[in-house]
Protein backbone atom coordinates (compact mmCIF):
# COMPACT_ATOMS: atom_id res chain seq x y z
CA UNK A 1 0.00 0.00 0.00
CA UNK A 2 2.61 2.57 1.05
CA UNK A 3 4.81 1.36 -1.76
CA UNK A 4 2.01 1.86 -4.28
CA UNK A 5 1.33 5.29 -2.87
CA UNK A 6 4.96 6.25 -3.16
CA UNK A 7 5.07 5.07 -6.76
CA UNK A 8 1.87 7.00 -7.57
CA UNK A 9 3.19 10.16 -5.95
CA UNK A 10 6.50 9.82 -7.74
CA UNK A 11 4.82 9.25 -11.09
CA UNK A 12 2.56 12.25 -10.57
CA UNK A 13 5.46 14.55 -9.74
CA UNK A 14 7.48 13.23 -12.63
CA UNK A 15 4.60 13.92 -15.00
CA UNK A 16 4.16 17.40 -13.58
CA UNK A 17 7.83 18.14 -14.22
CA UNK A 18 8.18 16.16 -17.40
CA UNK A 19 5.10 17.10 -19.41
CA UNK A 20 5.89 20.84 -19.71
CA UNK A 21 9.48 20.06 -20.67
CA UNK A 22 8.34 17.52 -23.24
CA UNK A 23 5.74 19.97 -24.59
CA UNK A 24 8.43 22.54 -25.15
CA UNK A 25 10.66 20.07 -26.96
CA UNK A 26 7.77 18.79 -29.09
CA UNK A 27 7.10 22.34 -30.32
CA UNK A 28 10.67 22.87 -31.48
CA UNK A 29 10.58 23.83 -35.15
CA UNK A 30 12.81 21.00 -36.31
CA UNK A 31 13.07 22.20 -39.90
CA UNK A 32 14.14 25.74 -39.09
CA UNK A 33 16.01 25.03 -35.88
CA UNK A 34 19.52 25.40 -37.27
CA UNK A 35 18.59 28.57 -39.13
CA UNK A 36 16.93 30.09 -36.08
CA UNK A 37 19.83 29.21 -33.81
CA UNK A 38 22.18 31.21 -35.99
CA UNK A 39 19.97 34.31 -35.98
CA UNK A 40 21.97 37.26 -34.66
CA UNK A 41 19.34 38.11 -32.02
CA UNK A 42 19.47 34.62 -30.54
CA UNK A 43 23.25 34.45 -30.79
CA UNK A 44 23.54 37.80 -29.07
CA UNK A 45 21.36 36.72 -26.15
CA UNK A 46 23.26 33.45 -25.87
CA UNK A 47 26.63 35.17 -25.85
CA UNK A 48 25.51 37.74 -23.27
CA UNK A 49 24.06 35.02 -21.05
CA UNK A 50 27.24 32.96 -21.15
CA UNK A 51 29.54 35.92 -20.47
CA UNK A 52 27.49 37.34 -17.59
CA UNK A 53 26.85 33.93 -16.02
CA UNK A 54 30.53 33.07 -16.13
CA UNK A 55 31.48 36.42 -14.59
CA UNK A 56 28.89 36.24 -11.84
CA UNK A 57 29.80 32.65 -10.96
CA UNK A 58 33.46 33.65 -10.71
CA UNK A 59 32.63 36.58 -8.43
CA UNK A 60 30.39 34.40 -6.29
CA UNK A 61 33.08 31.75 -5.82
CA UNK A 62 35.79 34.31 -5.05
CA UNK A 63 33.72 36.27 -2.55
CA UNK A 64 31.56 33.42 -1.30
CA UNK A 65 34.27 30.93 -0.37
CA UNK A 66 35.75 32.98 2.51
CA UNK A 67 32.25 33.87 3.69
CA UNK A 68 31.19 30.23 3.69
CA UNK A 69 34.39 29.23 5.49
CA UNK A 70 33.93 31.80 8.22
CA UNK A 71 30.29 30.85 8.67
CA UNK A 72 31.23 27.18 8.93
CA UNK A 73 34.11 27.54 11.34
CA UNK A 74 33.58 30.62 13.49
CA UNK A 75 30.82 31.83 15.70
CA UNK A 76 30.27 35.50 16.34
CA UNK A 77 27.49 37.71 17.59
CA UNK A 78 24.80 38.30 15.00
CA UNK A 79 25.80 35.25 13.00
CA UNK A 80 22.21 34.17 12.61
CA UNK A 81 21.27 37.53 11.16
CA UNK A 82 24.16 37.40 8.71
CA UNK A 83 23.16 33.89 7.64
CA UNK A 84 19.57 34.93 7.13
CA UNK A 85 20.55 37.97 5.09
CA UNK A 86 22.68 35.75 2.86
CA UNK A 87 19.85 33.22 2.44
CA UNK A 88 17.18 35.84 1.78
CA UNK A 89 17.62 36.14 -2.02
CA UNK A 90 16.75 32.44 -2.30
CA UNK A 91 13.19 33.13 -1.26
CA UNK A 92 12.87 36.75 -2.30
CA UNK A 93 10.80 37.42 -5.43
CA UNK A 94 13.40 38.46 -8.02
CA UNK A 95 11.50 41.63 -8.92
CA UNK A 96 11.78 42.70 -5.28
CA UNK A 97 15.51 42.10 -5.49
CA UNK A 98 15.64 44.14 -8.69
CA UNK A 99 13.83 47.03 -7.08
CA UNK A 100 16.13 46.86 -4.06
CA UNK A 101 19.18 46.89 -6.34
CA UNK A 102 17.75 49.85 -8.25
CA UNK A 103 17.18 51.81 -5.05
CA UNK A 104 20.69 50.98 -3.88
CA UNK A 105 22.87 51.08 -6.98
CA UNK A 106 20.75 53.18 -9.29
CA UNK A 107 22.16 56.59 -10.03
CA UNK A 108 19.43 58.11 -7.87
CA UNK A 109 19.92 55.27 -5.38
CA UNK A 110 21.66 55.15 -2.07
CA UNK A 111 25.10 53.95 -3.06
CA UNK A 112 24.82 55.20 -6.61
CA UNK A 113 24.43 58.81 -5.52
CA UNK A 114 27.16 58.57 -2.89
CA UNK A 115 29.69 57.15 -5.34
CA UNK A 116 28.39 58.93 -8.40
CA UNK A 117 28.04 55.70 -10.38
CA UNK A 118 25.43 54.71 -12.97
CA UNK A 119 24.97 50.97 -13.02
CA UNK A 120 21.44 50.38 -14.35
CA UNK A 121 21.15 49.52 -18.04
CA UNK A 122 24.72 48.17 -18.16
CA UNK A 123 26.03 44.63 -18.51
CA UNK A 124 27.62 45.11 -15.10
CA UNK A 125 24.14 45.53 -13.65
CA UNK A 126 23.16 42.17 -15.15
CA UNK A 127 26.12 40.55 -13.42
CA UNK A 128 25.33 42.27 -10.14
CA UNK A 129 21.72 41.07 -10.27
CA UNK A 130 22.91 37.53 -10.95
CA UNK A 131 25.42 37.66 -8.08
CA UNK A 132 22.74 38.96 -5.72
CA UNK A 133 20.25 36.25 -6.65
CA UNK A 134 22.62 33.29 -6.99
CA UNK A 135 25.22 33.74 -4.23
CA UNK A 136 23.22 31.81 -1.60
CA UNK A 137 23.06 28.82 -3.94
CA UNK A 138 26.84 28.64 -3.71
CA UNK A 139 27.29 29.62 -0.09
CA UNK A 140 24.90 27.04 1.37
CA UNK A 141 26.61 23.91 -0.04
CA UNK A 142 30.07 25.46 0.38
CA UNK A 143 29.34 26.09 4.02
CA UNK A 144 28.03 22.56 4.50
CA UNK A 145 31.22 21.29 2.88
CA UNK A 146 33.46 23.30 5.20
CA UNK A 147 31.44 22.18 8.22
CA UNK A 148 31.93 18.57 7.18
CA UNK A 149 35.73 18.77 7.27
CA UNK A 150 37.03 16.76 10.19
CA UNK A 151 38.48 19.19 12.70
CA UNK A 152 41.10 16.61 13.64
CA UNK A 153 42.65 16.92 10.18
CA UNK A 154 43.03 20.67 10.62
CA UNK A 155 44.38 20.20 14.13
CA UNK A 156 46.83 17.58 12.91
CA UNK A 157 48.09 19.99 10.28
CA UNK A 158 48.49 22.64 12.97
CA UNK A 159 50.58 20.31 15.15
CA UNK A 160 52.78 19.85 12.11
CA UNK A 161 53.18 23.62 12.10
CA UNK A 162 51.28 24.17 8.90
CA UNK A 163 50.07 27.75 8.68
CA UNK A 164 46.34 28.35 8.57
CA UNK A 165 46.58 29.41 4.93
CA UNK A 166 48.58 26.32 4.00
CA UNK A 167 46.16 24.06 5.82
CA UNK A 168 43.25 25.71 4.04
CA UNK A 169 44.84 25.32 0.63
CA UNK A 170 46.24 21.80 1.07
CA UNK A 171 43.81 20.13 3.45
CA UNK A 172 40.47 21.90 3.66
CA UNK A 173 40.09 22.95 0.02
CA UNK A 174 40.71 19.52 -1.55
CA UNK A 175 38.23 17.97 0.86
CA UNK A 176 35.53 20.52 0.10
CA UNK A 177 36.08 20.71 -3.64
CA UNK A 178 33.00 18.58 -4.43
CA UNK A 179 30.78 20.86 -2.34
CA UNK A 180 32.30 23.98 -3.82
CA UNK A 181 31.88 22.65 -7.35
CA UNK A 182 28.30 21.68 -6.64
CA UNK A 183 27.59 25.12 -5.22
CA UNK A 184 29.26 26.86 -8.14
CA UNK A 185 27.24 24.84 -10.63
CA UNK A 186 23.98 25.57 -8.77
CA UNK A 187 24.79 29.28 -8.62
CA UNK A 188 25.75 29.22 -12.28
CA UNK A 189 22.47 27.55 -13.24
CA UNK A 190 20.49 30.02 -11.16
CA UNK A 191 22.35 32.96 -12.71
CA UNK A 192 21.69 31.61 -16.19
CA UNK A 193 17.96 31.65 -15.48
CA UNK A 194 17.87 35.01 -13.72
CA UNK A 195 15.04 37.17 -15.07
CA UNK A 196 13.10 39.34 -12.65
CA UNK A 197 15.95 41.19 -10.96
CA UNK A 198 17.66 41.67 -14.29
CA UNK A 199 14.74 43.24 -16.14
CA UNK A 200 13.91 45.45 -13.16
CA UNK A 201 17.44 46.60 -12.38
CA UNK A 202 19.41 46.24 -15.60
CA UNK A 203 16.64 46.75 -18.13
CA UNK A 204 16.24 45.09 -21.48
CA UNK A 205 18.49 45.99 -24.39
CA UNK A 206 19.67 43.41 -26.95
CA UNK A 207 23.42 42.85 -26.71
CA UNK A 208 23.80 44.82 -23.48
CA UNK A 209 21.32 43.57 -20.90
CA UNK A 210 18.96 41.23 -22.77
CA UNK A 211 20.02 37.80 -21.54
CA UNK A 212 18.33 34.63 -22.77
CA UNK A 213 15.48 34.60 -20.24
CA UNK A 214 14.64 38.21 -21.15
CA UNK A 215 14.83 37.36 -24.83
CA UNK A 216 12.39 34.48 -24.22
CA UNK A 217 9.98 36.82 -22.48
CA UNK A 218 10.07 39.44 -25.22
CA UNK A 219 9.92 36.86 -28.01
CA UNK A 220 6.90 35.17 -26.42
CA UNK A 221 4.91 38.30 -27.23
CA UNK A 222 5.84 38.47 -30.88
CA UNK A 223 7.66 35.42 -32.13
CA UNK A 224 6.63 32.27 -30.29
CA UNK A 225 8.94 30.10 -32.36
CA UNK A 226 11.98 32.15 -31.36
CA UNK A 227 10.84 31.93 -27.74
CA UNK A 228 10.65 28.15 -28.01
CA UNK A 229 14.09 27.87 -29.62
CA UNK A 230 15.61 30.06 -26.90
CA UNK A 231 13.81 28.15 -24.16
CA UNK A 232 15.04 24.80 -25.38
CA UNK A 233 18.55 26.19 -25.70
CA UNK A 234 18.37 27.42 -22.10
CA UNK A 235 17.01 24.10 -20.95
CA UNK A 236 19.79 22.16 -22.67
CA UNK A 237 22.40 24.42 -21.08
CA UNK A 238 20.92 24.04 -17.60
CA UNK A 239 20.46 20.31 -18.05
CA UNK A 240 24.05 19.92 -19.18
CA UNK A 241 25.26 21.99 -16.28
CA UNK A 242 23.42 19.89 -13.69
CA UNK A 243 24.30 16.60 -15.34
CA UNK A 244 27.96 17.56 -15.61
CA UNK A 245 27.88 18.57 -11.99
CA UNK A 246 26.52 15.17 -10.99
CA UNK A 247 29.17 13.34 -12.94
CA UNK A 248 31.95 15.59 -11.64
CA UNK A 249 30.98 15.48 -7.97
CA UNK A 250 30.52 11.74 -8.18
CA UNK A 251 34.11 11.38 -9.36
CA UNK A 252 35.53 13.95 -6.99
CA UNK A 253 33.56 12.58 -4.09
CA UNK A 254 35.34 9.23 -4.38
CA UNK A 255 38.67 10.94 -4.99
CA UNK A 256 38.44 13.14 -1.95
CA UNK A 257 37.45 10.25 0.25
CA UNK A 258 40.81 8.75 -0.61
CA UNK A 259 42.73 11.70 0.79
CA UNK A 260 40.84 11.74 4.07
CA UNK A 261 41.37 8.36 5.64
CA UNK A 262 40.94 9.82 9.12
CA UNK A 263 37.60 11.32 8.27
CA UNK A 264 36.14 7.96 7.49
Amino acid sequence: MTRAAAIAAGALLLLLLGIPIASLILRVPAASLAARMSEPAIQEALRLSLVTTLASTLIIVLLGTPVAYVLATRSFPGKRVVETVIDLPMVLPPTVAGLALLLAFGRAGFVGRALGIELPFTTLAVILAQVFMSAPFFIAPARAGFSGVDRRLVDAAATLRASEGYTFARVVLPLTLPSLTAGAAMACARALGEFGATITFAGNLPGVTQTMPLAVYVAFQSDLEAAIVLSVLLMILSFGLLLGLRAATGRMGSASSLVSPIAR
Binding site: P120, N204, V218
Partner: protein, 250 residues
Protein backbone atom coordinates in the same frame (compact mmCIF):
# COMPACT_ATOMS: atom_id res chain seq x y z
CA UNK B 1 -1.54 21.23 12.58
CA UNK B 2 -5.18 22.13 13.04
CA UNK B 3 -4.16 25.62 14.00
CA UNK B 4 -2.02 25.85 10.90
CA UNK B 5 -4.93 24.90 8.65
CA UNK B 6 -7.12 27.41 10.42
CA UNK B 7 -4.56 30.15 9.99
CA UNK B 8 -4.24 29.32 6.31
CA UNK B 9 -8.00 29.47 5.84
CA UNK B 10 -8.14 32.81 7.61
CA UNK B 11 -5.48 34.26 5.35
CA UNK B 12 -6.84 32.73 2.18
CA UNK B 13 -10.55 33.20 2.78
CA UNK B 14 -10.87 36.73 1.36
CA UNK B 15 -9.36 35.45 -1.87
CA UNK B 16 -11.50 32.34 -1.88
CA UNK B 17 -14.63 34.26 -1.09
CA UNK B 18 -14.06 36.98 -3.71
CA UNK B 19 -17.26 37.71 -5.61
CA UNK B 20 -17.60 36.31 -9.07
CA UNK B 21 -15.89 38.97 -11.15
CA UNK B 22 -15.45 39.60 -14.84
CA UNK B 23 -11.81 39.60 -15.92
CA UNK B 24 -10.59 42.55 -17.94
CA UNK B 25 -7.37 42.34 -19.92
CA UNK B 26 -6.30 45.93 -20.40
CA UNK B 27 -3.28 47.85 -21.63
CA UNK B 28 -1.05 48.98 -18.76
CA UNK B 29 -1.81 52.63 -19.51
CA UNK B 30 -5.45 52.02 -18.53
CA UNK B 31 -4.54 50.95 -14.98
CA UNK B 32 -5.84 53.98 -13.10
CA UNK B 33 -8.81 54.90 -15.28
CA UNK B 34 -10.22 51.37 -15.49
CA UNK B 35 -10.02 50.93 -11.71
CA UNK B 36 -12.15 54.07 -11.43
CA UNK B 37 -14.63 52.76 -13.99
CA UNK B 38 -14.89 49.50 -12.07
CA UNK B 39 -15.55 51.43 -8.88
CA UNK B 40 -18.49 53.17 -10.57
CA UNK B 41 -19.91 49.92 -11.94
CA UNK B 42 -19.50 48.21 -8.59
CA UNK B 43 -22.40 50.39 -7.43
CA UNK B 44 -24.61 48.46 -9.86
CA UNK B 45 -23.48 45.18 -8.32
CA UNK B 46 -21.01 44.19 -11.03
CA UNK B 47 -17.49 43.17 -10.12
CA UNK B 48 -14.31 43.31 -12.16
CA UNK B 49 -10.75 42.24 -11.79
CA UNK B 50 -7.90 43.29 -14.01
CA UNK B 51 -4.88 42.00 -15.80
CA UNK B 52 -2.86 45.06 -16.80
CA UNK B 53 0.13 44.51 -19.09
CA UNK B 54 1.52 45.47 -22.46
CA UNK B 55 -1.15 44.95 -25.15
CA UNK B 56 1.15 42.57 -27.01
CA UNK B 57 1.49 40.43 -23.90
CA UNK B 58 -2.26 40.37 -23.34
CA UNK B 59 -2.84 39.35 -26.94
CA UNK B 60 -0.32 36.53 -26.52
CA UNK B 61 -2.04 35.40 -23.33
CA UNK B 62 -5.47 35.50 -24.98
CA UNK B 63 -4.14 33.45 -27.86
CA UNK B 64 -2.84 30.85 -25.41
CA UNK B 65 -6.34 30.53 -23.98
CA UNK B 66 -6.24 32.78 -20.92
CA UNK B 67 -9.77 33.25 -19.60
CA UNK B 68 -10.77 36.86 -20.22
CA UNK B 69 -14.06 38.69 -20.57
CA UNK B 70 -12.82 41.92 -22.09
CA UNK B 71 -9.74 42.94 -24.06
CA UNK B 72 -8.72 46.61 -24.22
CA UNK B 73 -5.66 47.35 -26.34
CA UNK B 74 -3.56 50.50 -26.63
CA UNK B 75 -3.45 50.14 -30.39
CA UNK B 76 -5.48 48.74 -33.26
CA UNK B 77 -2.70 46.37 -34.25
CA UNK B 78 -3.10 43.98 -31.32
CA UNK B 79 -6.89 44.25 -31.43
CA UNK B 80 -6.77 43.27 -35.09
CA UNK B 81 -4.47 40.40 -34.13
CA UNK B 82 -7.04 39.19 -31.59
CA UNK B 83 -9.83 39.57 -34.14
CA UNK B 84 -7.90 37.63 -36.78
CA UNK B 85 -7.28 34.82 -34.30
CA UNK B 86 -10.99 34.65 -33.58
CA UNK B 87 -10.61 35.66 -29.94
CA UNK B 88 -13.30 38.35 -29.91
CA UNK B 89 -17.04 38.53 -29.87
CA UNK B 90 -18.35 41.14 -32.29
CA UNK B 91 -16.38 44.11 -33.51
CA UNK B 92 -14.03 46.22 -31.39
CA UNK B 93 -15.04 49.78 -30.56
CA UNK B 94 -12.75 52.76 -30.12
CA UNK B 95 -13.31 54.18 -26.67
CA UNK B 96 -10.38 56.54 -26.04
CA UNK B 97 -7.30 58.16 -27.50
CA UNK B 98 -4.07 59.20 -25.90
CA UNK B 99 -1.33 61.67 -26.68
CA UNK B 100 2.30 60.63 -26.62
CA UNK B 101 4.63 62.76 -24.47
CA UNK B 102 8.25 62.71 -23.42
CA UNK B 103 8.90 62.73 -19.68
CA UNK B 104 12.11 63.39 -17.78
CA UNK B 105 12.85 63.18 -14.08
CA UNK B 106 11.95 66.40 -12.26
CA UNK B 107 15.65 67.05 -11.68
CA UNK B 108 16.29 66.65 -15.41
CA UNK B 109 19.72 65.02 -15.08
CA UNK B 110 20.13 64.68 -18.85
CA UNK B 111 19.23 68.33 -19.52
CA UNK B 112 16.47 67.39 -21.90
CA UNK B 113 14.41 70.51 -22.55
CA UNK B 114 13.20 69.97 -26.07
CA UNK B 115 12.62 66.88 -28.07
CA UNK B 116 15.80 67.37 -30.13
CA UNK B 117 17.86 67.02 -26.95
CA UNK B 118 17.04 63.30 -27.01
CA UNK B 119 19.50 62.96 -29.87
CA UNK B 120 22.44 64.40 -27.92
CA UNK B 121 25.02 61.64 -27.35
CA UNK B 122 24.98 60.23 -23.83
CA UNK B 123 21.34 61.01 -23.05
CA UNK B 124 19.76 57.89 -21.57
CA UNK B 125 16.47 57.23 -23.32
CA UNK B 126 13.86 54.60 -22.40
CA UNK B 127 11.60 53.20 -25.07
CA UNK B 128 8.99 50.45 -25.15
CA UNK B 129 9.95 47.23 -26.91
CA UNK B 130 9.10 47.33 -30.59
CA UNK B 131 5.83 45.44 -30.27
CA UNK B 132 4.33 47.18 -27.25
CA UNK B 133 2.07 49.99 -28.55
CA UNK B 134 3.91 52.76 -26.71
CA UNK B 135 7.18 51.56 -28.24
CA UNK B 136 5.70 51.51 -31.72
CA UNK B 137 4.12 54.95 -31.38
CA UNK B 138 7.37 56.40 -30.04
CA UNK B 139 9.27 55.04 -33.03
CA UNK B 140 6.70 56.70 -35.31
CA UNK B 141 7.23 60.03 -33.56
CA UNK B 142 10.99 59.69 -33.95
CA UNK B 143 10.59 58.86 -37.62
CA UNK B 144 8.34 61.89 -38.07
CA UNK B 145 11.05 64.04 -36.50
CA UNK B 146 13.82 62.41 -38.56
CA UNK B 147 15.58 61.61 -35.29
CA UNK B 148 15.25 57.82 -35.36
CA UNK B 149 18.86 56.89 -35.87
CA UNK B 150 20.38 59.21 -33.30
CA UNK B 151 17.76 58.71 -30.59
CA UNK B 152 17.64 54.93 -31.01
CA UNK B 153 21.40 54.93 -30.42
CA UNK B 154 20.70 56.53 -27.04
CA UNK B 155 18.17 53.92 -25.92
CA UNK B 156 19.45 52.18 -22.78
CA UNK B 157 16.52 49.84 -22.30
CA UNK B 158 13.40 48.64 -24.08
CA UNK B 159 10.68 48.17 -21.50
CA UNK B 160 7.82 45.74 -21.92
CA UNK B 161 5.08 48.11 -20.86
CA UNK B 162 4.65 51.83 -20.44
CA UNK B 163 4.39 51.74 -16.65
CA UNK B 164 7.92 50.33 -16.36
CA UNK B 165 9.15 53.40 -18.28
CA UNK B 166 7.20 55.77 -16.03
CA UNK B 167 8.59 54.17 -12.87
CA UNK B 168 12.20 54.17 -14.00
CA UNK B 169 12.00 57.82 -15.10
CA UNK B 170 10.26 58.80 -11.87
CA UNK B 171 13.09 57.08 -9.95
CA UNK B 172 15.54 59.20 -11.94
CA UNK B 173 17.34 56.21 -13.44
CA UNK B 174 17.11 57.35 -17.06
CA UNK B 175 17.02 60.82 -18.63
CA UNK B 176 13.89 60.64 -20.74
CA UNK B 177 11.22 58.27 -21.94
CA UNK B 178 8.23 58.14 -24.25
CA UNK B 179 4.96 57.57 -22.40
CA UNK B 180 1.31 58.57 -22.75
CA UNK B 181 -0.10 61.83 -21.46
CA UNK B 182 -2.38 59.78 -19.20
CA UNK B 183 0.65 58.22 -17.50
CA UNK B 184 1.59 61.50 -15.84
CA UNK B 185 -0.80 60.62 -13.02
CA UNK B 186 -1.17 62.55 -9.76
CA UNK B 187 0.93 59.82 -8.12
CA UNK B 188 4.05 60.60 -10.19
CA UNK B 189 3.33 64.15 -11.34
CA UNK B 190 5.65 65.59 -8.69
CA UNK B 191 8.55 63.49 -9.95
CA UNK B 192 8.24 64.11 -13.68
CA UNK B 193 8.67 66.90 -16.17
CA UNK B 194 6.66 66.71 -19.32
CA UNK B 195 7.87 67.73 -22.75
CA UNK B 196 5.30 68.07 -25.48
CA UNK B 197 5.86 66.58 -28.90
CA UNK B 198 5.59 69.12 -31.76
CA UNK B 199 2.18 69.07 -33.46
CA UNK B 200 3.51 68.07 -36.85
CA UNK B 201 5.23 64.98 -35.41
CA UNK B 202 2.48 64.00 -33.00
CA UNK B 203 1.11 60.48 -32.92
CA UNK B 204 -2.20 59.77 -31.23
CA UNK B 205 -2.82 56.34 -29.72
CA UNK B 206 -6.19 54.73 -30.42
CA UNK B 207 -7.71 52.45 -27.79
CA UNK B 208 -10.13 49.77 -29.01
CA UNK B 209 -12.04 47.44 -26.71
CA UNK B 210 -14.02 44.25 -27.29
CA UNK B 211 -15.75 41.47 -25.41
CA UNK B 212 -13.77 38.24 -25.56
CA UNK B 213 -15.10 35.20 -27.36
CA UNK B 214 -16.99 32.86 -25.03
CA UNK B 215 -16.59 35.33 -22.18
CA UNK B 216 -17.68 33.61 -18.95
CA UNK B 217 -19.14 36.90 -17.70
CA UNK B 218 -20.45 38.27 -20.97
CA UNK B 219 -23.13 40.44 -19.39
CA UNK B 220 -20.77 42.24 -17.03
CA UNK B 221 -18.28 42.47 -19.88
CA UNK B 222 -20.78 44.22 -22.17
CA UNK B 223 -21.79 46.53 -19.35
CA UNK B 224 -18.19 47.60 -18.93
CA UNK B 225 -17.68 48.29 -22.62
CA UNK B 226 -21.00 50.16 -22.90
CA UNK B 227 -20.25 52.27 -19.85
CA UNK B 228 -16.94 53.45 -21.30
CA UNK B 229 -18.80 55.02 -24.22
CA UNK B 230 -21.36 56.82 -22.05
CA UNK B 231 -20.81 60.45 -21.10
CA UNK B 232 -19.84 59.37 -17.57
CA UNK B 233 -17.39 56.77 -18.78
CA UNK B 234 -15.77 59.23 -21.17
CA UNK B 235 -15.55 61.79 -18.37
CA UNK B 236 -13.57 59.35 -16.23
CA UNK B 237 -11.14 58.71 -19.07
CA UNK B 238 -10.72 62.44 -19.76
CA UNK B 239 -10.13 63.06 -16.07
CA UNK B 240 -7.24 60.58 -16.32
CA UNK B 241 -5.65 62.42 -19.22
CA UNK B 242 -7.12 60.56 -22.19
CA UNK B 243 -8.74 62.21 -25.19
CA UNK B 244 -12.39 61.32 -25.71
CA UNK B 245 -13.28 58.74 -28.31
CA UNK B 246 -15.64 60.97 -30.33
CA UNK B 247 -12.99 63.02 -32.04
CA UNK B 248 -11.43 59.79 -33.21
CA UNK B 249 -14.06 59.39 -35.85
CA UNK B 250 -13.09 61.12 -39.05
Amino acid sequence: MKRLVLAFLLVASPALAAPDAATIFAAASLSESFQDVAKELEKTGKHYRFNFAGSQQLAAQLEQGAPADVFASADELWMRYAKEHDLLEGDPRLFARNRLVVVTPKTNPGRVDRIADLARPGVKVLLGVENVPVGRYARQVLANLHLSRRVLANVVSQEENVKAIVTKIALGEADAGFVYASDVTPGVRGKLRRIAIPDDAEVIADYPIAVAKNAPHAEAARAFVDYLLTREGQAILVKHGFLPAEDARP
